[in-house]
């Protein structure tokens, strides 16, 4: 993690041509695994994919999320802050985890997403981050 902070913390080192993409793994509430063996294989494949991503230098962050019912929402209401149980989006589908990568363009991001989708047996949404203003 320290490595990430260092890199992002130094704007002069940032490769301006790169775009960051959020690759989020979606789940409709059902198990994506055919069998228990398949689940273990998926974990192993995802581990291999993570290693490859890290070795490529395009890795920024990766993490699996706890179930959506563990989420809390903090909002301001009538000037006071209020905490409620989450998740915020009342949807059957939810994000199970995600990768954040750096890629030269959409084609590179999509290629990583394809590989990630195959590895983790999930649908992967690719969404670009806004660039950091240059001036």
């Amino acid at each position: 993690m320290q490595q990430v902070r260092d890199r992002i913390g130094r704007p002069d080192q940032k490769e301006t041509a790169m775009t960051q993409y959020l690759l989020s793994v979606h789940n409709d509430g059902t198990s994506p695994y055919a069998t228990e063996e398949d689940m273990h294989a998926a974990f192993a494949d995802t581990g291999t994919f993570n290693e490859k991503l890290q070795a490529s230098g395009k890795w920024v962050f990766a993490g699996g999320l706890e179930f959506p019912d563990t989420a809390k929402v903090v909002r301001r209401r009538d000037g006071a802050l209020e905490r409620t149980d989450g998740p915020y989006l009342e949807s059957k589908e939810h994000i199970g985890g995600f990768w954040i990568i750096e890629a030269a363009d959409m084609d590179e991001a999509l290629a990583w997403a394809e590989e990630g989708a195959v590895a983790c047996r999930g649908d992967v949404e690719v969404r670009p981050f806004q660039g950091i203003p240059q001036d």
Partner: protein
């Protein structure tokens, strides 16, 4: 220490605030990020492009299928995320509360596994 995801949640029908208000929000968010970095809890932060810029990639029995648009078609949307590395949920909620105050929209706080 565990990681937490702080998601910026835009309610249905939310529109971009006027430029001067937006600039004030950006200043507050920038200051909060600086505080997070100074406290050593900041891992990642980024604003996302609109959900319509999203593409879903799906593996259908070995054939990869691409679909234009976000996975979840919802009026509410996630506008950006921050990842922090803090001791516990209370600490995460405290940062989440500061973020909610800085932007003026709800913040969802959700733990990462492990």
């Amino acid at each position: 220490m565990p990681n937490y995801l702080l998601s910026v949640c835009y309610p249905a029908g939310a529109s971009q605030p006027p430029p001067d208000e937006l600039a004030a929000i950006m200043t507050r968010v920038g200051a909060l990020s600086a505080d997070m970095q100074a406290a050593g809890v900041w891992v990642f932060g980024g604003g996302l492009h609109a959900p319509s810029s999203a593409t879903v990639v799906e593996d259908r029995d070995g054939e990869v299928v691409m679909t234009d648009g976000p996975f979840i078609e919802s009026k509410e949307q996630i506008g950006g995320i921050t990842i922090i590395d803090v001791a516990d949920l209370d600490a995460a909620l405290a940062w989440g509360a500061r973020k909610a105050a800085a932007i003026g929209v709800p913040i969802e706080v959700r733990p990462f596994v492990g």
